[in-house]
């Protein structure tokens, strides 16, 4: 565990001794936005956890824009923000330190896990440093269920625009639900609460030289908690607005790191998901309320064009691992354009499952495999946008649920294709 922490951080943690709550904020050149996040976290800790010993830890990736100075120097006295002065607030410790390991959010989180374990924290919260919509109550909603309700992992539940988070809606949420039977709506939300026990478990894993150390960390945290039978819940946080800068803006990279991570975890947790049937809701905390969401522009024509080109130009690649029936249907879809274009749910589910099996069998280089999924995802997203053009939030949510149900129904197809290949060695499949 010691090797996960820089010397500076070890010294700071030794001075602090112990803490009840650790709020971790990973960063890389976020000087513009991190001050707001630190203030919100400080206010949240002061307002809802005044009797607890709290630490805010900024785990930085070597920022060149004074991010760490902003963390340490931003307003410490938050009482004026809270309009409360009657109750005594334990001083909130702030630490900012560069992390060790591969550059990426995962390595930053590992330092947070290690610090939480060293401080013997009961609860941990991690929030992104580019959040514009974070409010003090987020800290309560992410930490309180862990402290008071014996939960081990709290995922965020955001209100998002109907076209926002299409990888989450079309792949990650339905896959998480069908594989592990838990309806965690935002498995890769990025803002999580978790117990010290779970932080310890995360640290025991040997994944820090993989894509998990980069941007696969969110799905890895969620699936590890779900697969290893930790108590999982979700908290309603309202809208998520973040800075325009997106570290994973390249779609191919996103697929490799996020979708590739979920495929890799299917191998790790094969004995678990093969025994799961159906799905159930997880405990929900917080008070749902309507919020305005930012509008999103989508160029459907361009997406359909990308899909058609992919189906045509990548036919030999798809021929190596997609079934003939699936390929035929993909070609048939490509023949339609404009508002006529549709990518049916069962076809999309089969595509994802066949890609998962190809990933497991290493049918082609895994990076190439993930890249070849991008055009098909474009087609699926275009179809979703066309279908939902006039739909309201409730209708969209129902539609996403409908897709998730198809993922569950088609799970035997996945198991059948998966079973056709030799089994892999399992590791980390059981809780400590």
């Amino acid at each position: 565990m010691d090797t996960f922490l820089s010397e500076d951080l070890k010294k700071s943690l030794a001075e602090i001794g112990e803490a009840d709550i650790v709020v971790g904020i990973p960063s890389y050149n976020n000087a513009r936005t991190i001050g707001h996040v630190v203030r919100a976290a400080s206010a949240g800790l002061a307002q809802y956890f005044s009797n607890y010993r709290c630490v805010i830890l900024n785990s930085d990736g070597g920022s060149k824009d004074n991010t760490r100075d902003v963390v340490l120097q931003s307003e410490h006295d938050v009482s004026s923000l809270l309009l409360v002065s009657s109750h005594k607030v334990n001083p909130i410790q702030r630490v900012s330190s560069p992390y060790v390991g591969l550059p990426g959010k995962g390595s930053a989180f590992r330092a947070v896990f290690a610090a939480a374990c060293q401080l013997k924290a009961k609860a941990c919260v991690v929030v992104d440093s580019d959040l514009r919509s974070i409010a003090p109550h987020w800290i309560e909603l992410l930490a309180k269920p862990v402290l008071d309700r014996n939960m081990d992992f709290i995922a965020p539940y955001y209100q998002r625009h109907k076209y926002d988070g299409t990888i989450t809606n079309g792949i990650i949420y339905p896959m998480t639900r069908s594989l592990f039977g838990k309806r965690i709506r935002q498995p890769i939300g990025g803002d999580f609460g978790f117990s010290g026990r779970l932080a310890q478990r995360y640290l025991e894993k040997d994944v820090w030289e993989t894509d998990v150390a980069r941007f696969g960390i969110d799905i890895w945290m969620t699936l590890t908690a779900a697969a290893e039978d930790f108590q999982v819940g979700q908290s309603y946080l309202g809208a998520k607005l973040h800075d325009a800068k997106d570290p994973g803006a390249d779609l191919s990279n996103m697929f490799r790191q996020v979708v590739g991570s979920i495929f890799a975890l299917m191998e790790t947790y094969e004995p678990v998901w093969k025994n799961v049937q159906g799905s159930a809701a997880v405990p929900m905390f917080g008070f749902p309320f309507e919020v305005g969401v930012e509008p999103i522009a989508v160029n459907v024509e361009r997406m359909i064009k990308a899909y058609a080109q992919g189906v045509n130009d990548l036919r030999e690649i798809y021929g190596g691992f997609l079934s003939p029936a699936t390929r035929e249907e993909l070609v048939a879809c490509a023949a339609k354009s404009g508002d006529e274009f549709r990518f049916p749910d069962p076809l999309w589910v089969r595509v994802i499952y066949e890609f998962a099996v190809a990933h497991r069998n290493r049918a082609i280089d895994r990076g190439h495999l993930m890249q070849s999924l991008v055009p098909l995802y474009m087609g699926r997203t275009a179809s979703f946008v066309i279908e939902m053009r006039d739909a309201g939030p409730l209708e969209v949510e129902e539609r996403i649920d409908q897709l998730a149900a198809v993922f569950e129904q088609e799970k035997p197809y996945l198991m059948e294709r998966w079973g056709a290949s030799p089994q892999k060695e399992q590791s980390h499949a059981k809780p400590a």
Binding site: D164, G165, L251, S252, M254, R302, A306, D313, L314, P422
Partner: protein
């Protein structure tokens, strides 16, 4: 009289000696080939069973190369491939032994062949490596071009593959010392021709494309029609 008899007998003696000199080694060669071939076959069977028992197929599957072996449609499984590889090596050894047993004429052939083996191995490795690299890079190019929505993505990827394979063949032949100068000149002419031809073709053929692209950029500034989807 004796001389006359010798005149008749001598050719027969020489023929017998020559026959013995040829038949002996020929017989030895045949025996070596038959026994060696049988031994190679038996060893192949044995190696196959050993590999199956050691779960070699699964090990190869884990490295991701099993599909490449199966796609050749020559081998039933990685174990079959391993066993046949061992058989081929034994066969090579047997053939060399047989040639060595074949007397002075074939011994020279063997010696020349043996001195040529390092070059053959190097050239084979170059070809295998070049083929794998060209396939990988062509696929990388194809995927990147398709995801960037470039028209002619397959043509670009095909071009990458041909170029790398051509370079590989030139290096392999150079290693085998076959047509050194001619190859070098041919490569220089071809490569120069490709660059020149490509430049001219792009200059003339893509004139309209470049004009349309610039017009598009001028009338639709960057980002105006871009998606602002947050995929995650």
């Amino acid at each position: 009289m004796q001389n006359l008899l010798d005149m008749f007998v001598e050719p027969f003696n020489r023929l017998r000696e020559q026959f013995a000199a040829v038949v002996g080694p020929l017989f030895a060669m045949m025996v070596i080939l038959i026994v060696g071939g049988a031994a190679a076959f038996l060893i192949r069977q044995l190696v196959y069973r050993l590999l199956v028992a050691a779960k070699f197929d699964r090990m190869v599957d884990d490295t991701g190369t099993a599909n490449t072996i199966l796609r050749t449609r020559v081998f039933r499984s990685p174990s079959d491939f391993g066993a046949r590889l061992v058989q081929s090596m034994i066969w090579l050894l047997v053939v060399l032994m047989a040639l060595y047993a074949g007397g002075q004429m074939t011994q020279g052939l063997v010696e020349r062949f043996i001195s040529y083996i390092p070059a053959i191995i190097t050239a084979t490795l170059v070809l295998i490596l070049g083929s794998a690299i060209s396939k990988f890079l062509a696929r990388s190019t194809l995927l990147a071009a398709v995801n960037a929505q470039w028209s002619g993505a397959r043509l670009i990827a095909g071009g990458v593959r041909v170029l790398i394979m051509f370079l590989t063949v030139v290096i392999a032949l150079e290693e085998l010392q076959i047509g050194r100068t001619a190859l070098l000149i041919a490569f220089a002419i071809l490569f120069g021709g490709i660059v020149l031809g490509g430049s001219v073709a792009f200059g003339l053929g893509a004139r309209d494309f470049v004009r349309d692209w610039l017009r598009e950029k001028a009338t639709h500034p960057k980002g105006e029609e871009e998606d602002i989807l947050h995929h995650l």
